[in-house]
């Protein structure tokens, strides 16, 4: 983790005994975690009631560093784990924190279905345009023709426009920022924490060790400058217009902020409508 995060007042939200983290210098993941702790701090929530769930990857390690009830699950399956956790524990705020590969490749099916059913989860997706943990392979978000270890001659597939994917599946809050936008990320996370339903924040973040180096794009700091120059705030934009192209403009902002019944609300209302007095609502597990 970068020195900035280690000396941060956000320290009280971190498992300090686990520092230093595994993250490389200049990696964007720590920056997003810093923003998350600020959002938590500002929220005034009872932190005992916030749980974080990660999949596998460099970003997947976030769960292990946050001083919250935290679950580091399997590759791609943070969302269904979190869906189960939230259904069993409606009193908790459940946050999924994972990488682009984890959430949109191996976990893509869960992502679209959780958005469709409006599972009451905040999903933070750190999109570094690559599989960091495994050495920089191509992911569904790698723009063509970026070089990755498994596309040594350049990526050739169309990449996902994640905000559009999630919005068209029914997500109620969809935003994108870059690791440069620390205040906006914290604000967005704070806003999304207050909301119910499937909320998705994509953060474009540098992986200097693999993605930047392999594409000869400089250091983490150079990338921050690039984000600063190339980001275009497009709040409320039609998500069809926010796809990312290689080294092109980066549309950022809050694209979607709507209301619709959550999975839990829809389930409860349908069951009580159908069963009337026979419906016995779920109650929280008690310690016998």
């Amino acid at each position: 983790m970068s020195a900035a995060v280690r000396e941060n007042p956000a320290d009280k939200y971190l498992r300090k005994e686990r520092m230093p983290s595994i993250w490389c210098p200049g990696c964007g993941i720590g920056t997003t975690v810093n923003c998350f702790t600020r959002a938590l701090d500002a929220s005034g929530y009872d932190l005992e009631k916030v749980a974080v769930v990660s999949g596998i990857g460099c970003t997947g390690r976030v769960a292990g560093y946050l001083k919250l009830d935290s679950f580091h699950t399997t590759h791609g399956r943070a969302i269904p784990f979190a869906t189960g956790l939230k259904l069993a524990r409606p009193d908790l705020k459940v946050v999924v924190y994972s990488g682009d590969g984890d959430l949109s490749a191996i976990g893509g099916n869960h992502l679209i279905h959780a958005a469709r059913r409006n599972a009451d989860l905040l999903v933070v997706c750190v999109n570094n345009l690559t599989y960091g943990m495994t050495g920089g392979q191509v992911t569904p978000t790698t723009p063509q023709p970026a070089i990755a270890s498994t596309t040594p001659y350049g990526a050739f597939e169309q990449s996902f426009n994640l905000p559009h994917l999630v919005a068209s599946c029914g997500g109620v809050y969809v935003a994108r920022w870059t690791a440069y936008h620390v205040r906006q990320i914290a604000k967005s996370m704070g806003e999304a924490l207050q909301k119910k339903g499937f909320r998705f924040i994509e953060i474009i973040a540098p992986c200097p060790t693999l993605y930047l180096r392999r594409n000869k794009l400089g250091e983490g700091l150079d990338e921050m400058k690039f984000y600063q120059e190339k980001s275009v705030v497009m709040n409320g934009a039609d998500t069809r217009e926010v796809s990312l192209d290689f080294r092109d403009e980066i549309p950022v902002g809050k694209f979607v902020d709507i209301e619709r019944p959550t999975l839990e609300e829809a389930m409860e209302s349908q069951l009580s409508k159908a069963l009337g007095a026979k419906y016995v609502p779920y109650s929280l597990p008690v310690k016998a």
Binding site: R15, E48, G64, I79, L87, R89, H113, V280, P285
Partner: protein, 387 residues
């Protein structure tokens, strides 16, 4: 051990198929969270759960696939609920990664597998017992778990309750391994009054946050206590090798310590876990070892062999894993042979052969599945074995 909560228990005498009996067993055991994905011949379990749960305060969700269902129940279990999922054949294969995750994270949970003939899509949806070794070793890496094999709808009820109890007692995934015939056969099932159904509650720690370690065995035990999120413990649960706090620890020493205990908590407690049913073992020359539906077919063959004057006993595996090594070993010094009919080309018979170590014969009676054995085939194997 306490007793079932009367609210959900369908006390009385019913005609149920094995699948539905599993659903009722789960409800009686206190299961209030289930995740599923349809696959014949297991779907009836979740169909009944879907109908019954909203009337007993449970939550069921059908997921987008078995990968999701098989970890959603772990989310539910960590939330504090008793949780299960149900599948068959291809779905069981998809669930393997999460059975391993449940094992390493010591998550109390139940997976029900109604076996059908495979590999792959195989013979949907005819019976088989081809997943017995997969049940034991199907997830990568080394671990131990518990697997039970009911042979009747009544036992589907009883063993599903037992599965939940063992899951809590040992913080381990427990598999209930039906076969298609047991899952679909309808028989009388007597569900006792709630007060007579023993139920193991989760072993909640009384230790305070900071003092409690989620993966430290409780005093005098090999199994750690539990807590749930939302109580200030700031637990960390990971599928990485971890220390007693649950923190990743990438050393061989930590791996050795963790793996040993995961192994020992099952293997060294085999006497408390293993259940079987024996008949006429005294003086038997041949013992038929069977499980699930095959044990019901074998009964006919055993009867016929007795009529021919053969001294034949029966040993039915109720617990497949951990394997009743001690019992088989003891018998192996007294009998001429074990006869092992099963709906696969030799799985549990391999384990018997290993335990017996040549002390007596092991005569497999393999059958590819699709149907059950003809009793005469088992009879012939008994007659052959006694010679």
């Amino acid at each position: 051990m306490s007793n079932a909560n009367s609210s959900g228990v369908l006390t009385g005498s019913h005609y149920l198929d094995g699948d539905h009996a599993c659903s009722e067993g789960a409800i009686a055991a206190g299961c209030r969270f289930a995740a599923g994905y349809p696959i014949t011949p297991s779907t009836e379990v979740v169909e009944r759960i879907a109908a019954r749960f909203p009337r007993v305060g449970g939550r069921f969700l059908q997921f987008e696939d078995e990968l999701g269902a098989s970890i959603a129940l772990l989310g539910g279990a960590w939330g504090g609920a008793k949780a299960m999922t149900v599948t068959s054949g291809p779905g069981f294969s998809l669930m393997m990664e999460h059975i391993g995750y449940a094992a390493i994270t010591e998550t109390p949970c139940v997976y029900i597998n109604v076996q059908r003939a495979g590999p792959s899509t195989g013979l949907p949806t005819q019976p088989a017992q081809g997943d017995m070794m997969q049940a034991r070793f199907g997830s990568h890496g080394d671990y131990r778990l518990i697997a039970l094999c009911p042979n009747s709808p009544q036992e589907c009820f009883d063993l599903t309750v037992e599965a939940f109890n063992l899951a809590e007692e040992f913080r381990v995934p427990v598999l209930v391994m039906l076969d298609e015939v047991v899952g679909h056969m309808t028989e009388k099932v007597v569900i006792p009054p709630a007060g007579e159904i023993p139920v193991s509650p989760r072993r909640w720690t009384k230790k305070a946050p900071g003092e409690f370690k989620l993966f430290e065995p409780a005093e005098g035990s090999l199994v750690p206590e539990m807590t749930m999120p939302g109580e200030g413990h700031q637990i960390h649960v990971t599928g990485l090798t971890h220390d007693e706090r649950g923190y990743p620890n990438m050393t061989i020493a930590a791996h050795e310590k963790m793996q040993r205990r995961l192994f020992d908590k099952i293997v060294l407690n085999a006497d408390r876990i293993v259940k079987w049913e024996e008949k006429d073992l005294a003086g038997a020359e041949v013992v038929v070892v069977s499980y699930g539906i095959t044990s019901r077919v074998a009964e006919k063959a055993i009867q016929a062999a007795k009529e021919k004057g053969v001294k034949v006993g029966s040993f039915r595996l109720i617990t497949a894993w951990p394997f009743p090594e001690k019992q088989i070993l003891e018998m192996s010094t007294k009998v001429k042979a074990f006869v092992v009919p099963e709906l696969n080309l030799g799985q549990m018979s391999l384990e018997i052969e290993r335990v017996v170590g040549g002390r007596c014969k092991t005569v497999g009676v393999p059958h590819v599945g699709g149907t059950v054995h003809k009793p005469e085939v088992i009879l012939n194997a008994i007659l052959e074995a006694v010679r």
